[in-house]
């Protein structure tokens, strides 16, 4: 073997190693990219007041309103063995996540969603774990989760939310609200709702919103803290009872003239009227603390 040839061979080898050095990380990068979440985008033309249903075992679901008369669904299943089905039946769009094989582990049955809907859409969402975020949707909505938290913003429709352990937060919601949980905490912020029914067993409940005339506000838990914030202009008739816990009150209540309260023989109870008593507020706890505090 000549020196020249040897030099050429060594040079060629060096070149090949360089090429390989560039190719291998590139290929690895490509494979890593292809193994990541697969993004699907689907569009459905809809008429007024469409209904969108989502059934997902686990994942992050974000729903926003837009001005288009269509539903856009961007889904990102966690693996290639998980598929998102979206189909339209008239003015209803059904979205669900399913396994493509029996070998998919329960923990891998997840998909994330970004969904845009017309403002007047009605939503029905079932998402066991992860989170659900909805903003600016005017229609009614029903959300059910196990561990997933639910965050709603600027939603004036009739809201029914049920979780097992997931928290619930509602900011500037204005419709009728019915929410229940076992251990989830509730935060109801800047509410303008005339009907609120909230019940959690061990969670805390914070209500910081307006008490509308003729509105009814029923907040109940087993343990934990129920905190209600009021402003001097609010007008409500208050009934607060904690069977084994405390009731702390900063509102100057006067004896009620138009409501019949049957003072319970057990526990700590407080009844009275603030201003004209236009709204009705009922706070009930088993051994939790009830705080009726002035708004900052």
């Amino acid at each position: 073997m000549s020196t020249d040839h040897l030099a050429y061979t060594q040079g060629a080898l060096k070149t090949h190693w360089k090429t390989a050095g560039l190719l291998v990380p590139g290929l690895l990068l490509c494979s890593a990219v292809s193994a990541g979440p697969i993004r699907h985008e689907q569009h459905f033309k809809v008429a007024a007041h469409p209904v969108v249903t989502i059934h997902n075992p686990e994942g992050l679901i974000t729903v926003k309103a837009w001005t288009k008369a269509e539903v856009m669904i961007i889904s990102m299943p966690a693996s290639a063995e998980v598929e998102v089905d979206a189909e339209q039946m008239g003015n209803r769009v059904d979205v669900s996540t399913r396994a493509l094989s029996d070998s998919v582990a329960p923990g891998d049955m997840r998909a994330d969603f970004q969904i845009n809907v017309p403002e007047d859409a009605e939503l029905q969402i079932h998402n066991d774990a992860g989170s659900v975020n909805v903003a600016n949707v005017l229609g009614d909505m029903n959300v059910e989760t196990v561990a997933a938290g639910v965050d709603l913003e600027d939603t004036p429709g009739y809201l029914t939310v049920k979780t097992v352990g997931g928290s619930f937060q509602c900011v500037r919601c204005a419709g009728r609200i019915e929410v229940s949980s076992i251990s989830g905490n509730f935060r109801l912020i800047d509410l303008k709702s005339a009907h609120v029914w909230a019940q959690t067993s061990t969670g805390n409940i914070l209500f910081n919103g307006a008490f509308l005339p003729n509105g009814t506000y029923s907040l109940k838990n087993y343990s934990g803290v129920i905190e209600v914030r009021f402003s001097p202009a609010d007008s409500f008739d208050m009934s607060a009872t904690s069977l084994k816990g405390k009731v702390i009150n900063e509102a100057k209540l006067t004896p009620s003239t138009h409501e019949h309260h049957f003072v319970p023989k057990w526990g700590n109870a407080l009844f009275g009227t603030f201003n004209q008593g236009r709204a009705k507020v009922e706070l009930t706890s088993f051994d939790g603390t009830i705080n009726i505090l002035k708004r900052d």
């Binding site: 774990a129 561990a147 352990g165 076992i182 067993s201 019949h260």
Partner: protein, 227 residues
């Protein structure tokens, strides 16, 4: 008469106590804890009052003795010489009553008798009826909850799906919340034992059972979906 609110119900209360169950009133009671509590109290009072009426109220002989002593002290009656001289020959209640009626003015007798009966009624029947009532409430609650508790416990024993079939985050949350509800049930049961008449404690107990049933149904639903 339509019963749409608490005021209507209070107006309707007399009819309700007499046994008239207007559908509107029943709907209102379902939604209004305050009126429900009032109706329960009224029903309990009525039942108790009826049971008093059904019992023969024969005062104890010592009531007559004390009544007699008091009336003697106040000079309303005076015993014959023979009775004073021979205490061993005390008349029976019946004989004493005959002589008693003969000697004192009837209005005085009636007033005194009535006062003592009322005082005795309150003194004796108060704690007894309280205990009886508590026992009844407790029994009623146990009758309502025992079959439910047994059913839920047997349902809980059945393995529906193995842990590997369920999402770990969901399984953990369901188990954690089932433990919370079980603890909630035992604390409510304890509270009901302590205060059987507390409608708040009973309401919480029933709600706790309802939550457990719903939770087990959710777990069952997931098991079915998997199978």
């Amino acid at each position: 008469m339509a019963v749409n609110n608490c005021k209507d119900f209070v107006t309707h209360l007399e009819a309700w106590t007499e046994g008239e169950r207007h559908p509107d009133a029943q709907v209102h009671l379902r939604d209004c804890a305050g009126c429900r509590s009032l109706a329960e109290d009224m029903d309990a009072i009525r039942t108790e009052a009826l049971s008093w009426g059904a019992q023969e109220s024969e005062p104890h002989p010592r009531v007559w003795t004390s009544l007699r002593t008091r009336l003697e002290q106040e000079g309303l009656i005076r015993l014959p010489e023979a009775e004073v001289a021979i205490p061993a020959a005390r008349p029976s209640t019946e004989n004493w009553l005959s002589s008693f009626f003969a000697r004192i003015p009837r209005p005085a007798l009636a007033g005194a008798y009535l006062s003592i009966l009322i005082a005795l009624g309150f003194a004796l029947s108060g704690p007894v009826s309280k205990q009886t009532n508590e026992a009844r409430w407790l029994e009623g609650t146990q009758i309502a909850t025992s079959p439910l508790s047994a059913k839920l416990n047997s349902f809980e024993q059945n393995p529906i799906a193995s842990d590997r079939d369920l999402n770990p985050a969901v399984t953990a949350s369901l188990q954690q919340n089932l433990a919370i509800v079980d603890n909630y049930i035992s604390l409510c049961e304890k509270s009901v034992q302590e205060e059987p008449q507390s409608e708040v404690a009973r309401d919480y107990l029933y709600e706790a059972y309802q939550q457990k049933a719903e939770l087990l149904a959710q777990i069952g639903e997931r098991g079915e979906n998997i199978q």
